[in-house]
């Protein structure tokens, strides 16, 4: 039977916090006490199992994030392919697709009026994907529920729930801003995003992107241009879209 003090001793040994003498003494005991040695081996395996489970959980989270992102485009010998197309490489699909695209473009140019800022907003705006798993979101029940309604597209209920939570984190406020924008409360969205500026460096470009779109919707073109130019200055995934939209509003 393993004594309680040996449990603590083994934990400290595994954590590497024993002194040289203590370590040596314990290692000698492993040789003489097979039960203790077996217990130690089991303890190591248990820890590895727990760590593997943690790693797999994080890996699943990243896969979920990846699955909700737009496909990546890669130039391959002069043509453009996507992840899905890569899996079914049939030449005729590209040709048919290109012809259809050209046809639609011609129709669009012939019959459509120049895009208004509201149309531009409608084309580019898409609420930011929910990349936070509910298990990881902490204990804020209200926020969990708000994100649930956000996922369902019931933005009015999501706003109601977000606003009931007293202390929203920066990322939660970013989702609240998106919810305002999706619910046509553009001014609230702008104010929330403006307050977030500089507070969360890892999503600075995302904040600028949504702020720019909101400004476009409100016809505040110089403000939108300022945000878009900031996105273009750094190397990031919004750069191309920002360039494109900047050309369109110019």
């Amino acid at each position: 039977m393993i004594q309680d003090k040996d449990h603590i001793l083994l934990d400290n040994y595994i954590e590497g916090v024993l002194s040289f003498d203590e370590r040596e003494k314990l290692e000698n005991r492993f040789k003489d006490e097979p039960e203790l040695d077996l217990f130690y081996q089991e303890q190591l395996a248990l820890i590895q199992g727990i760590q593997r489970a943690g790693k797999n959980e994080m890996s699943q989270l990243l896969k979920k994030v990846e699955s909700e992102l737009p496909p990546i485009y890669v130039a391959d010998k002069g043509r453009v392919i996507t992840l899905e197309e890569e899996k079914k490489p049939k030449q005729w699909i590209y040709i048919a697709g290109s012809i259809a695209a050209v046809f639609i473009l011609v129709l669009f140019v012939l019959f459509s009026s120049p895009s208004s800022t509201k149309e531009l907003y409608a084309v580019y705006f898409e609420p930011y994907p929910n990349i936070v798993s509910s298990e990881q979101r902490g204990s804020k029940e209200m926020v969990k529920d708000a994100m649930h309604f956000y996922d369902l597209g019931d933005y009015a209920t999501a706003i109601d729930l977000f606003e009931k939570e007293e202390a929203l984190s920066q990322l939660e406020r970013f989702y609240l801003a998106n919810t305002y924008l999706a619910n046509n409360q553009t001014e609230d969205g702008i104010n929330t995003l403006k307050r977030l500026k500089g507070e969360l460096p890892v999503i600075e470009n995302q904040i600028s992107w949504y702020l720019a779109l909101a400004y476009i919707k409100m016809d505040l073109i110089p403000e939108a241009e300022k945000e878009l130019k900031m996105i273009i200055e750094s190397d990031n995934s919004y750069q191309k879209k920002a360039n494109k939209i900047l050309n369109e509003i110019d």
């Binding site: 395996a45 943690g54 990846e66």
Partner: protein, 184 residues
């Protein structure tokens, strides 16, 4: 320092910040791997996910306390090694004949038993209650101290948290190593 701030944020808010970092460098990284290592988008995406996981685990285990250069350089440096490892593996797959396969199999057998045991433990871990899963994950995977866990999970004091950790480990031990005997 910005990166130190990010590291602290990851330790506090792990999945949220990690997801943001994932999105931020994803496109550029995947293009870079495809261009330099001539692999498919799927393989490049796998490499990228691996890189983000390695970075995350380095932060948790405190191997990274501060990144002297920028985060992008750090990720791309890990990425270079991971992409080369992927290439080496694919060459080995193409290059090995029947005998190579045999020797590799023999070497793998030594680890197979250990691997099976870990897979079994992982399954047993999933059978634990959510409280035990959380506690053990925080201690052994996220490397939080008993003091941090006491605060996070609202235990009365550190001794209670320690005692609970011991009980959870015992439960996991029983499920992993002795459940067969019990069933038998």
């Amino acid at each position: 320092m910005l990166n130190r701030k990010i590291i602290a944020e990851i330790r506090k808010n792990q999945s949220e910040v990690l997801s943001e970092i994932y999105i931020e460098y994803r496109e550029e990284f995947i293009h870079w791997v495809i261009k330099n290592y001539h692999c498919s988008i799927d393989d490049a995406t796998d490499v990228y996910q691996n890189v983000i996981l390695v970075f995350y685990e380095n932060v948790l285990s405190r191997k990274v306390e501060e990144i002297r250069y920028d985060l992008k350089t750090y990720l791309f440096t890990i990425g270079k090694n991971k992409a080369m490892e992927m290439k080496r593996k694919s060459y080995r797959m193409v290059g090995k004949g029947d005998m190579g396969e045999y020797h590799e199999q023999e070497a793998n057998n030594e680890n197979a038993e250990k691997e099976d045991k870990i897979v079994e433990i992982e399954k047993s871990f999933k059978r634990l209650g959510i409280g035990c899963r959380k506690l053990l994950n925080l201690f052994y995977y996220q490397r939080k101290s008993i003091r941090e866990i006491t605060e996070l999970l609202g235990y009365k004091n550190e001794a209670t948290a320690k005692n609970q950790k011991y009980k959870c480990m015992q439960k996991l031990r029983e499920l992993s190593f002795y459940s067969n005997y019990v069933k038998g």
